[in-house]
């Protein structure tokens, strides 16, 4: 904490040092720590399902492939309109990991052969809910129905003190025109704006309730979803 009596240039330096430190510890090193604990959960002959594009998950899988001699294959699930799974696919295939690519409609078809699901998160809310890219809660729900463990990788800086019980509250709306698709020269939803009774909804995030998530891997270790408030409490004590 900086006192008002510290002269300006020194205060600036101290602030810069603190920011650099925070960046290094909580973001860069945390990613390494998470990747290390996460690949302990990857066993030989595992089939891992991933969704969208998460830098943590990609890093874990690539590290597990290069640093251990375990054989596993990955099923990349993707969804419109962002199609972020293609980036994941590109990165993993470049590392030599055996991948399968499906759209989100096919998850009930592939889930019986999946051994675990590895997801990223944008934020972890105080009641243990996971806020992530839209489609994540769907994957968690169907995985629960098939008894497949769901693991979420998340750094502690993403833990926030807000509580949300549904996905509509404080979500982001993306450009609805992204949902329009050209097929055989015809844009099916092209004239949606002129139609009074038609609205296109392109949501960016959704919220997964804590009972659908089995394990959260953070830089503080592996914790259940319900322990997020404890970590927040410990963090607050640290900062004081």
């Amino acid at each position: 904490m900086l006192f008002v009596t510290v002269p300006s240039p020194q205060a600036k330096e101290k602030l810069q040092a603190t920011i650099d430190n925070y960046l290094r510890e909580k973001i860069v090193l945390a990613a390494e720590a998470i990747s290390k604990s996460a690949f302990e959960k990857i066993n030989d002959n595992d089939v891992i399902l991933v969704y969208g594009c998460s830098s943590l998950v990609n890093r874990t899988l690539c590290d597990a492939h290069t640093q251990t001699d375990r054989t596993f294959r990955v099923i990349v699930v993707d969804s419109r309109p962002r199609l972020e799974g293609r980036e994941t696919l590109r990165r993993l295939v470049r590392h030599g990991i055996h991948c399968t690519y499906v759209m989100i409609n096919a998850i009930s078809y592939v889930l019986p052969e999946v051994s675990k699901v590895l997801l990223g998160a944008h934020a972890l809310l105080a009641n243990g809910s996971v806020m992530s890219r839209v489609g994540t809660s769907q994957i968690a729900l169907v995985s629960k129905a098939y008894n497949v463990p769901v693991l979420v990788c998340c750094e502690t800086y993403k833990f926030c003190e807000r509580v949300q019980t549904d996905s509509f509250v404080s979500n982001e709306l993306d450009d609805p025109d992204d949902l329009i698709v050209q097929r055989k020269g015809q844009a099916q939803l092209g004239g949606w704006a002129e139609n009074n009774s038609l609205r296109l909804l392109n949501l960016v995030y959704d919220v997964t309730p804590p009972d659908l998530v089995d394990l959260v891997i953070t830089d503080l270790g592996m914790i259940p979803c319900t322990s997020v408030p404890v970590v927040l409490r410990v963090k607050n004590v640290d900062q004081q």
């Binding site: 066993n43 693991l151 394990l215 259940p224 319900t226």
Partner: protein, 308 residues
């Protein structure tokens, strides 16, 4: 102190006091080891204690010995060891070790005090295998003048001879307390569940998710209890809390699943029968520990406090 002496002390503790938990015997042996250690540095001491814990785990592969040893090590090194004099530091560590041992020996009575009010007069209790903590709880309930009856499962391992000893142990102990006991087959749990009011089991280890590792068959009992809406209570001391997080049965490390001798001599572990299974936290109603009465989700909070 050599490894053989350590193992001998551990075994002697178990022989002299058959009522003691194996983890407590391990901690006593470790305290003796600490006293006789001839090292000159703290790092050296910690690494030799770690090796000692490994040695003891190889003798008795239960989760509790491992977690108890780990917690002991953390408790004694948690002080600010700022003294430059090594012998003073060592004295403090030994003192803390004794405090830990004393706390741990009182834990069973604390648990019994917390748990026996949940046993109402006329209750029918189902329990599994031989647990000294459950026995202590039932003793406390008898002392508070409650009448209840107990169903005990046979808790079959594969050697038929062992069965007899196991079944005799729990049933005998209960009969000594004048509690009406019925021994049932492991397969009869689903049949008896409708008659039972509550299920009470011990644990060999409590994992981070709030689930437990216990004698094989516990998971089945928990699933039956959930299906028939009967409360499933677990009693465990806090030194059994371990930083594992199994996702399913396969995820429990092999070193806990099989007995220490089997691990050393067996060629192919897939042919051996596991001795323990993992019960997930969604099937457990409450855990009674010396840290209080906890819901499964509170276990992780307590673990974070214990280990961080």
């Amino acid at each position: 102190m050599s490894t053989d002496d350590l193992i001998e002390t551990f075994r002697a503790q178990l022989r002299d006091d058959p009522d003691v938990a194996s983890a407590v015997a391990a901690i006593r042996a470790l305290l003796g080891f600490l006293r006789q250690d001839r090292g000159e540095t703290i790092q050296g001491l910690r690494s030799s204690l770690r090796d000692a814990i490994d040695t003891l785990s190889r003798v008795d592969s239960s989760v509790a010995v491992n977690s108890g040893g780990e917690l002991f090590l953390r408790f004694i090194s948690l002080t600010s060891l700022e003294y430059s004099d090594y012998s003073k530091c060592k004295e403090i560590m030994i003192e803390r070790g004794e405090i830990f041992l004393r706390k741990v020996s009182l834990s069973r009575n604390k648990i019994a005090k917390l748990c026996h009010p949940f046993i109402r007069d006329g209750a029918r209790i189902l329990t599994h295998a031989y647990s000294r903590v459950v026995l202590r709880v039932l003793e406390a309930a008898v002392e508070s003048k409650k009448r209840f009856s107990v169903y005990v499962t046979e808790s079959q391992p594969d050697q038929a001879g062992q069965v007899f000893i196991n079944l005799q142990k729990m049933a005998k102990a209960l009969r000594k307390l004048n509690i009406p006991v019925t021994v049932i087959l492991d397969a009869a749990v689903g049949y008896i569940m409708e008659k039972v009011d509550l299920v009470l089991v011990g644990a060999e280890g409590v994992v981070e998710s709030g689930g437990i590792i216990n004698k094989i068959g516990t998971n089945q009992i928990a699933v039956c209890a959930k299906a028939q809406n009967k409360p499933f209570y677990v009693v465990a001391e806090s030194f059994k809390f371990v930083r594992l997080f199994p996702l399913n049965q396969q995820d429990v490390p092999d070193k806990f699943k099989y007995k220490a001798d089997t691990l050393k001599t067996s060629q192919n572990l897939t042919e051996e029968h596991p001795w323990i299974d993992y019960t997930s936290p969604s099937l457990i109603t409450l855990l009674f520990t010396d840290l209080g009465v906890l819901t499964p989700s509170a276990v992780s909070d307590e673990l974070i406090k214990l280990y961080l």
